[in-house]
Symmetry: C2
Subunit: 333 residues, 2 copies
């Protein structure tokens, strides 16, 4: 049994060097493909390293100046189905790019503290998927040299990169679709005003309606949850009868469909319903929701791309990537 095992200590390059009868530098070189090292020697060292279960400690390397490959992802406190899909896809995409995503979430208080503490790590970047974050926070990141990438919401700050779907265009497209089907009395279930996306989506709808010479018939604000969509139906119908309900996201649309059915109304025969995001559940047989796709794969690709660009050029100007939405035709329009 080796010394390292006896002491229950992690095996280090020095242990491998001792066991293989070479210098510590040789071990380091064995794990650096482009370093000069006799091929046989390298093989022998890697052999010994494998037997001992040695892997270079990333912490030592990071201290040396290497990239930490650590990336924080901050999600909101009550993640919607869409947020969860994004988090999963983002983690996979970062893994594929050789990065390690640290998830920050939980209640407002917990995540605020965690976000602040995670800055103690020399992160490659911080990815924001949450609505509001105090502006002095961006300064803190700047001082620490940690790049910020905002997704789903534009942060208009010097070195910050942004990735966002074209909310207005997407909502215009789906509003036009309903218009083309002859709908005239539109209800809207909007999102919380704190979210930038909610306002942009509403604006896109209003734009289309205005072009058609129509006004909104009824409007209710939800909180992006299924439950709020369900309850919004009653409030909406109390304002005026409608023949189409546009929702600012899929979760509320799903709730609205149930709310309508419970009142004996058929979707889409009596009232059409549309969503935004195209979450997995939108395609489930009970819903078959007509919606606007917020392309997660494109989002992940753009984030990974911006991340790599910024690592290569830390001082480059902030860039904004706009994702193209797409109308998904199913059976609720």
């Amino acid at each position: 049994m080796t010394d390292a095992q006896e002491r229950n200590r992690r095996v280090t390059a020095a242990d491998v060097a001792r066991a293989a009868g070479v210098s510590r530098s040789a071990v380091s070189r064995a794990f650096t493909p482009e370093a000069y090292l006799d091929a046989d020697k390298r093989r022998a060292i890697l052999q010994v390293a494998d037997e001992l279960g040695y892997r270079p400690n990333a912490i030592g390397a990071a201290l040396q100046g290497a990239s930490s490959n650590l990336v924080a992802i901050v999600v909101g406190d009550t993640p919607s189905p869409f947020d969860k899909e994004v988090a999963t896809a983002l983690a996979a995409g970062l893994n594929a790019a050789g990065k390690y995503p640290i998830m920050i979430g939980g209640s407002q208080a917990v995540s605020r503290a965690a976000v602040s503490d995670v800055l103690r790590y020399p992160l490659d970047a911080m990815i924001l998927r949450t609505g509001s974050l105090s502006p002095d926070f961006a300064d803190a990141c700047g001082k620490l040299g940690i790049p910020l990438i905002s997704s789903g919401r534009i942060m208009d700050r010097p070195l910050v990169d942004n990735v966002c779907v074209q909310n207005e265009a997407g909502m215009e497209m789906i509003t036009d679709l309903l218009l083309s089907r002859g709908h005239k009395a539109f209800g809207f279930i909007g999102g919380p005003s704190g979210f930038g996306s909610a306002g942009r989506r509403r604006a896109g709808m209003m734009q289309s309606l205005a072009k058609a010479g129509l006004d909104l018939t009824a409007e209710v604000t939800g909180d992006y949850t299924v439950q709020s969509g369900f309850k919004a139906v009653e409030a909406l119908l109390a304002q005026a009868p409608v023949d189409a309900i546009l929702c600012a996201n899929d979760a509320m649309a799903i709730g609205a469909i149930s709310g309508l059915r419970q009142r004996g109304l058929r979707v889409p025969e009596d009232v059409a319903v549309t969503g935004f995001d195209d979450v997995e559940m939108a395609g489930w047989p009970e819903y078959r929701l007509t919606t606007v796709r917020n392309p997660i794969n494109d989002m992940v690709a753009a984030i990974v791309d911006l991340l790599e660009a910024r690592i290569n050029a830390p001082r480059r100007a902030g860039e904004t990537r706009w994702l193209t939405p797409e109308v998904i035709l199913r059976e609720t329009h």
Copy 2:
């Protein structure tokens, strides 16, 4: 402008010491609550540190022997809704405990490579939420001194901790419920054989059925997805008519409900359906699924608890925590 900012370098304790006119150790002490340091001096140092945007670099501290506070979470390649809920809750729970979860996921190939590479970090622990992982992998963790916590599946290895819901008991409870309602012809939609949970759940059901002197009427194996539950209905009914369908998880139960409705069958009047896990969607108005709760909060609490216990006593024997399932009565039984 300070030297550190000019060079776009992270501010270090040395920078703060220079700016505050104290020694580096004093700066270190200022950030260590229990260290001896004149109160005024500490205040002054923290003041300067704040202005400079300094935070102790966790990498340096970790190298020093401090815990890295980094914990890897490995999820499967095609996470179900339940997996996503677990991942979100686990991340939040770890954050609250001052730990930073690194998510590992994506395709089989990507996550295999990522899992191997992430071991370069001196992780506090690795949490496994995925089905199969080669056994030599546990050895690798052992050699590196990285504790393993397996959730949802028992890993019977010396120092490995486990957290798992009582699958058999849960399934027995819900089978008994259907039995007490007078159901006689049972169909079962099972999970993939690679998952330990699928077999245990089936066993619990068979146990209850045997006690009642009944046998299974029809059986189909799905892959834990909604789609597979939907398609399983046809195969099941082709075998024999049933008046109750038990499913090994909620996603398949949700699919089965839709499959039944599409064939003009009413749930639960014609056929009862039950699930397992109690995901968020199980409570949605279109489903109102009667199911067995797999208690996520308890799971997270147990994992955090085991993690802390193991950090305090790295050589303690592996412990298994059994979570208590609970039948959730809704409207499909």
